[in-house]
Amino acid sequence: MTQPIISVREVTKRYPGGREALSGISMDIEAGEFVFLTGHSGAGKSTVFRLLAAIERPSSGSVLVAGQNVSALSPRGIPFLRRNLGLVFQDQKLLLDRSVFDNVMLPLLVTGQPYRDSARRARAALDKVGLLDREKTRPVALSGGEQQRLCIARAVVNRPSILIADEPTASLDSEYADTIMGMFRSFNQVGVTVLIATHDRQRLEQGRVVRLSHGRITA
């Protein structure tokens, strides 16, 4: 049996002030899976996202991503973990004073890859999400759906083995949301493990669904 690519064991996350966002959850995700993490708002989906990306540490329990114990990772190791992850943030985290192209270049430049190779790969990623003709625009000039596609392009430009998205379709109309989901599927088809946190129940078809409720896994 192969080791799961993501393994969450007995994880509890308590915030200062005593609110418990996660209460001893466990879940495994195999390489190449397509998983929805769903639940009402405040159920703990975003907390799982932040634990996997080492933005936060669990209060107890362990989080393993690609064989690395994220919960015990030293600050020095965190950048190297994140380079293997494609992250799509709920609040997008786009740099508004940089062009679309430069936003996609960022993950490549921080790893110190040659500019020419990086530019080629950034354009390939932009092409995949259909934004190649907008590379010189600033993100503010893009529509909400285009901004979300830009986030996806930035997440996949490093060719990560795992793609994790937090509410990627939250503010989009249903047609646009379908397009975005289609993109995630196409990445999954080439072997990328995809985990999507969403409260959108209409789009849970064709994938494993993990339900969170009040910090516990219910299904």
Binding site: R57, R82, K93, P107, V110, G112, P114, N158
Partner: protein, 302 residues
């Protein structure tokens, strides 16, 4: 290694771009650093000039002995032997009165005064050089020589040189303290500048770290910026000081003929300037170090 070097180059470029993006604010910063650094640098170069001129005066302790009467050749020889045999004496030189007059005539301005004299007012003299510069020896010999027959006035020549030297020593400490204080000021200025820059680029830093940038990567441009601020301020300080020295020199040139000498303030040497600039760069780097090590740790996982 190659990509590491490339990022260093990019960081330098980025630092210069940030200067260019806010030229007025950057210029103001550079001027502040320049003025702050010009104070100790200017005092240092004035001091080293003083030291240079003080150094051209013999610091060896000397005692001048002026004879009261014009003695015969035999008396001079006898006195010279006694002086030579005194304890603590290195050498003895006899200066006959006409030789002293001739050398005085060589000084500009004095020639006419001397020509108007009917006879030579100068006494014969001995110049005695001592082996050690301690005040006790000089004082002991002064008393001893005063008691010798035919001796009029005894004068310890090196006393004022030593006084200047101790004054210079105090001035050196003062300049050192000034440099230390204003070095701190430079560190504080870069600290504030870089901290502000970190705050304004807070988002860029956060996103870079989220997509896998290391702390070193994020900090590097700031280090270049801080060091560049130090070096640019240093260049400004050098310009200020050299310009001030040139102004002083024109003033001195105007004064020169009055005193018959032409003192010229020497500008800072190339090596000194280079050392000074690297020092300014290091201080800028230090200010950055303090600013970024505090501010970039906040985004670590909670």
């Amino acid at each position: 290694m190659n990509s590491w070097l490339r990022h260093h180059f990019q960081s330098l470029q980025q630092a210069l771009t940030r200067f260019a993006e806010a030229p007025l604010a950057s210029l103001a910063n550079i001027v502040v650093v320049g003025v702050v650094l010009a104070l100790p640098l200017g005092s240092y170069s004035l001091l080293s000039n003083l030291q240079f001129y003080a150094g051209s005066v013999p610091t060896e302790p000397q005692i001048s002995i002026f004879l009261s009467t014009s003695p015969g050749r035999a008396d001079v020889a006898a006195l010279e032997t006694r002086l030579r045999n005194a304890e603590g004496v290195r050498s003895v030189r006899f200066v006959p009165r006409d030789v002293a007059l001739t050398s005085l005539k060589r000084l500009p301005g004095l020639n006419e005064v001397i020509a108007s004299l009917r006879e030579n007012p100068l006494p014969d003299a001995f110049v005695v050089t001592l082996t050690s510069s301690d005040a006790d020896t000089a004082a002991r010999l002064e008393v001893q020589f005063r008691g010798l027959p035919g001796v009029g006035t005894v004068q310890v020549d090196s006393a004022w040189v030593r006084r200047i030297e101790s004054l210079l020593r105090i001035a050196r400490s003062a300049v050192l303290m000034l440099a230390l204080l204003l070095g701190f000021a430079l560190v504080a200025v870069t600290f504030n500048t870089i901290r502000l820059q970190v705050l304004t680029q807070h988002e860029e830093i956060e996103v870079s770290k989220l997509v896998g940038a290391t702390d070193a990567y994020v900090r590097r441009p700031f280090f270049y910026q801080g060091a560049a601020l130090g070096v640019a301020g240093g260049i400004a300080a050098l310009c200020i000081v050299q310009a001030a020295m040139l102004v002083f020199n024109t003033d001195l040139a105007r004064l020169g003929p009055v005193f018959g000498i032409l003192p010229v303030l020497r500008l800072l040497s190339f090596q000194d300037s280079l050392a000074f600039l690297s020092f300014a760069g290091i201080l800028g780097w230090l200010g950055t170090y303090l600013a970024v090590s505090r501010h970039l740790l906040i985004s670590e996982p909670r």
